[in-house]
């Protein structure tokens, strides 16, 4: 792993734990996770269900806060922020891409893409321009006045990606982005990710599919709430990478 100093990291996670209390029982979903992600990296976080990857995704997405440990995002400590501050961070720093797309069914594709800009207080005209530009990046300008139920699965996910891109966040955070798509359409989306990666976007992809993780230059494998492998995407995905725990610390 690179020896880049922590200041250059876009994401720096230090010894994060997340404990849930479910029916009087303590569930330790994350037990001391540390890693860093630099600007422009494309990283997959993989693991079986119950490995803690969904919790990791929620923490990285600032939808949840860690029980202990520190999470620095773009130089800001977001692990102890208030609810309202986190809302602003999500708006500015993160572009979400969900497995189930999570588009608002009653709004057009264009209006869906505009949404993050609405919460940023951008004027209606500028919103429209920027949303159109984002839809252009995913080649969907011809469908922008359609509602989600008039679009195919692949098109919906491209609308969701445009929505994630529109506010120019520091990173794109995708949760099983191909999970609800057939393999051909999934491939189309992965190619789009490759293009975005080449264009310099930082991508974090949470998945349980080794094939998808293998396409990423880097992958982190979680098991039982801990990192068990961190390295080249193909090696980690295929389980051939040695346990690389040294990269995360400090």
């Amino acid at each position: 792993m690179s020896a880049a100093s922590s200041a250059e990291k876009l994401i720096l996670v230090e010894d994060i734990t997340r404990v849930f209390h479910v029916g009087g029982e303590e569930v330790r979903a994350l037990r001391g996770v540390s890693f860093g992600i630099s600007r422009g990296e494309w990283v997959a976080i993989i693991g079986q269900s119950g490995s803690g990857k969904s919790t990791m995704m929620n923490v990285l997405g600032c939808l949840d806060t860690p029980t202990s440990g520190r999470y620095m995002l773009n130089g800001k400590d977001v692990s102890r922020m208030s609810d309202d501050e986190l809302a602003v961070i999500r708006n500015v720093e993160i572009g979400f891409i969900f497995q189930t797309f999570q588009l608002l069914p009653k709004e057009t594709a264009l209006a869906n893409v505009e949404l993050p800009l609405v919460y940023r207080g951008v004027s209606a005209r500028e919103r429209r321009e920027r949303a159109k530009a984002a839809l252009d990046k995913v080649q969907l300008t011809h469908r922008m006045h359609h509602r989600p139920n008039e679009l195919s699965g692949g098109q919906r996910q491209r609308v969701a990606i445009a929505r994630a891109l529109v506010a120019e966040p520091s990173m794109l955070l995708a949760d099983e982005p191909t999970g609800n798509l057939d393999s051909a359409t999934g491939e189309e989306i992965v190619r789009l990710f490759e293009q975005l990666h080449q264009a310099g976007h930082t991508l974090v992809l949470v998945t349980h599919e080794p094939k998808l993780a293998a396409r990423c230059p880097r992958a982190i494998r979680l098991s039982d709430g801990q990192i068990v492998a961190d390295g080249d995407g193909r090696q980690v995905a295929m389980g051939t990478a040695s346990d690389v725990l040294s990269a995360g610390g400090t």
Binding site: D84, R90, V92, F96, Q102, L104, V118, Y119, R120
Partner: protein, 412 residues
């Protein structure tokens, strides 16, 4: 890049979403609206009718004159034992004359006695016409004006002439298209000559004030017997003197009627204005009950709003999750649902206002009650409805805002 004009975003986006969601659920919106609407309608109809009652009552009282008093053994509003008043001695003409001498501050004064009777002219007949025996001074107390001929004179009274001055309804009923002055009418088979006609005065609590015939006071007694008691109508120059005149009259009347010292007054001084106060006390209680009923209806409507908003929050759990993930703050979500709740209610309020005012209008058309609707009532109706929606929207909105984004996104 923090939160530029965050409040503007909250309001604009909240309003846009509210309108969209109302349009998307038209039937539900209409039904929910109905609850609030009925509440507002009830409230407005009742308030309108009662305000109308009060207004017309005051207007009618005003025709009696604020500068008048009516002395009688009976009070207008009897509280307690009727027999106590019944057993008081009747006034006598002798007392009237002494009163006149002792009370120079009265600008006009006339004994007044009345009964209902049938009145006829030629083939026309009218029943239950008020026949009132008075003297010439009564014109200045009554508030009527002469539209033709003359009013009664002092000489009419002293010589007990069979003459009559008739009200506008009697003119219309007995003399259609004919000038009544100089003609004769029959009251209970006695013939009277019409010497004058009166201006129209309208209705008082549903009863016409123009179905009336004035005849000389003495003529009344000689024609219709003298066992009947009378009251004394009196006026002062200006309404501002009524209070002090009333105070002085108490002493004078006790002297005139030889009331023993220490005994209660054996007469009542009635004033239209005092009657209005009594009336308002009566309708005030009614008003309170009616408004209470209306408020309960509104409460029920409000609970309807709350219920539907809770359903709406549940239905849109995922939407809330998405919005939160994309940067909506709790406050923005609260705003969104409050706007929705209060706009549903405001629409209901508008609907209710229309129906309520319509009802009041219909009531005023088909009954003698005159509904009176003031612009402020309308504004208050719509505003109040919106407020109810806002209040009952708080809990659902808070629930929406406090949803955990992670849970909300996962909600099926």
């Amino acid at each position: 890049m923090s939160q530029p004009s965050a409040f503007r975003v909250d309001v604009l986006e909240g309003a846009r979403i509210a309108v969209m969601s109302l349009r998307a659920n038209r039937l539900r919106t209409v039904l929910t609206t109905l609850g609030i609407g009925i509440g507002v309608a009830t409230l407005l109809a009742i308030v309108g009718i009662i305000q109308g009652l009060n207004t017309s009552f005051h207007q009618q009282l005003a025709t009696f004159g604020a500068n008048t008093m009516y002395v009688s053994k009976f009070p207008w509003m009897i509280k307690g034992d009727w027999w106590r008043y019944r057993n008081r001695k009747n006034f006598t003409m002798d007392q009237v004359q002494r009163l006149r001498a002792l009370a120079p501050f009265l600008s006009a004064m006339s004994p007044s006695v009345q009964r209902l009777a049938d009145v006829a002219h030629g083939g026309e007949q009218m029943s239950t016409v008020r026949i009132q025996g008075v003297t010439h001074e009564y014109l200045n107390i009554s508030g009527y004006e002469i539209t033709g001929g003359r009013f009664l004179t002092e000489a009419d009274d002293t010589t007990t002439r069979p003459v009559a001055v008739i009200g506008a309804d009697v003119v219309d009923g007995l003399f259609p298209g004919v000038s009544p002055v100089g003609q004769t009418i029959r009251i209970e088979n006695r013939t009277f000559q019409v010497v004058g006609t009166l201006s129209r005065k309208g209705k008082m609590v549903g009863e016409s004030l123009d179905l009336i015939v004035f005849i000389p006071f003495k003529t009344f007694y000689s024609s219709f017997g003298n066992r009947r008691g009378f009251e004394i109508a009196m006026a002062v120059e200006d309404a501002s003197q009524v209070r002090s005149a009333e105070d002085q009259l108490v002493g004078i009347l006790r002297r005139v009627r030889s009331t023993p010292p220490g005994a209660d007054d054996d007469f009542s001084i009635n004033r239209p204005e005092a009657m209005a106060q009594t009336y308002e006390q009566l309708t005030g209680a009614l008003y309170g009950v009616a408004v209470g009923v209306g408020l309960i209806t509104l409460l029920v409507g409000g609970i309807g709003i709350m219920n539907i908003m809770l359903v709406s929050v549940r239905e849109r759990t995922r939407e809330i999750g998405v919005r939160r993930a994309l940067g909506a703050r709790k406050r923005t979500i609260v705003f969104q649902f409050l706007m929705e709740a209060s706009s549903v209610s405001a629409v209901g309020g508008l609907l209710g206002t229309t129906v309520g005012l319509g009802t009041a209008k219909v009531v005023s058309l088909i009954t003698p009650l005159a509904a009176d609707v003031r612009p402020m009532t309308v504004v208050a109706g719509v505003g109040f409805a919106a407020l109810v929606g806002l209040l009952f929207g708080i809990w659902p909105a808070a629930r929406a805002a406090n949803l955990d984004p992670v849970e909300a996104l996962r909600y099926e």
